[in-house]
């Protein structure tokens, strides 16, 4: 078994819950747990107590690669002046509008 002599050694996990089947899993929060099974159980007890969903994902936080604040310019700014990437210039037929 992995090293879990000490609470401080328990790795951090990120929890994602799916509100309904078909919907995307959403970040719910994080927690500490010694391994996958206990992370899942702790997630159930911490983030799924009030009917929050139908499915849980847990992943060790260290496996998530995140962008940094320095990436903000190159990653997101170029999209600012490219309104043609949004489809709002198309006129939507009435029948389609009604349905939404």
């Amino acid at each position: 078994m992995t090293d879990k002599n000490n609470n401080d050694n328990w790795p951090l996990w990120e929890v994602f819950t799916q509100p309904k089947s078909g919907k995307p899993h959403e970040h719910a929060g994080s927690l500490h747990a010694p391994d996958e099974e206990m992370a899942l159980q702790n997630a159930r007890d911490t983030y799924a107590r009030r009917n929050e969903g139908v499915s849980i994902w847990v992943v060790q936080s260290k496996h998530i690669t995140a962008s940094t604040p320095d990436d903000m310019g190159p990653f997101f700014d170029p999209a600012n002046d490219k309104p043609y990437r949004h489809p709002q210039f198309y006129s939507v037929p009435r029948a389609v509008k009604k349905r939404s």
């Binding site: 078994m1 879990k4 002599n5 609470n7 328990w10 927690l31 500490h32 747990a33 010694p34 099974e37 206990m38 159980q41 702790n42 159930r44 007890d45 911490t46 107590r49």
Partner: protein, 260 residues
């Protein structure tokens, strides 16, 4: 306590419901002592959740017991206004919470028993009773899963966790005999299609317990040792009175108090 020779169906049903409810109330109350004292924030929540589940199961059973009894009592009467000799919970449930390993070991033994018992009780020939059993069974399955996983981790964990949970099982063993106690109340209930014959799943329960302990590298204590008895007739350890004093004090001091 029922002492007359002629037990009616109503008395048997009432006694049966109270035995189930008392186990859950007392163990739920005992485990709730971990609230704010859990070894980890996440486990603190897990234990509080389990305690609330247990007290919830007890509440539903008491409510139904009050209906069967038909004397105008409610669930609070059974929980707060009876004395220790009238409680019929297993001694296993009233023992002090001990360390985390002890709490886990006890809850594992109890949940495993409840699991097999409820799997059969859900077919009881009483819609309301079977309905609540079915609902509670889902939570019991989770209690069993959670405590079983912890038994594996503590048993096969560090030298200290292994030793401590082994000692817990050794200490708890003589309280396991009562799980399978049956008397005329059970006979009535089995005959009416309302209760279960616990001897029919004793081997299943032992198998699950033995497999789990073995997988956790623990030694299965001797099944043939001296076993405690008497709780279904109101005979308890010295620990129940203290638990009741704490649990019942407020309600007895302010019997008419209400949540506002």
């Amino acid at each position: 306590m029922i002492t007359t020779k002629e037990l009616t169906k109503q008395e048997a049903f009432l006694t049966y419901l109270l035995r189930l409810a008392d186990d859950r109330l007392i163990l739920g109350q005992r485990n709730s002592e971990w609230c704010g004292h859990g070894p980890q924030l996440e486990e603190d929540l897990a234990l509080a959740n389990i305690s609330l589940d247990m007290i919830g199961h007890a509440t539903a059973l008491y409510e139904y017991a009050a209906e069967i009894e038909d004397k105008g009592h409610d669930e609070d009467y059974f929980a707060f206004f009876r004395d220790d000799r009238n409680f019929t919970n297993l001694q296993l449930c009233e023992l002090p919470k001990g360390d985390f390993g002890f709490t886990i070991a006890r809850h594992f033994l109890f949940s495993a028993f409840s699991y097999f018992q409820y799997e059969r009780l859900k077919n009881a020939k009483d819609e309301q009773f079977a309905g609540m059993v079915n609902k509670h069974l889902k939570e019991i399955k989770y209690h069993l899963r959670h405590t079983r996983e912890w038994v594996l981790r503590l048993g096969d964990g560090t030298e200290e966790s292994h030793q401590r949970i082994q000692e817990s099982f050794d200490e708890l063993w003589m309280y396991t005999g009562e799980l399978f106690y049956m008397d005329e109340v059970d006979e009535w209930m089995i005959k009416e299609g309302l209760g279960v014959d616990s001897s029919t799943f004793k081997e299943d329960w032992k198998g699950l317990v033995e497999n789990t302990l073995t997988e956790a590298t623990l030694t299965v204590p001797d099944w043939d040792q001296f076993m405690m008895s008497g709780s279904r007739k109101g005979i308890h350890t010295e620990h129940l009175g203290h638990l009741l004093a704490q649990m019942q004090f407020l309600r007895r001091s302010y019997p008419d108090a209400e949540w506002k």
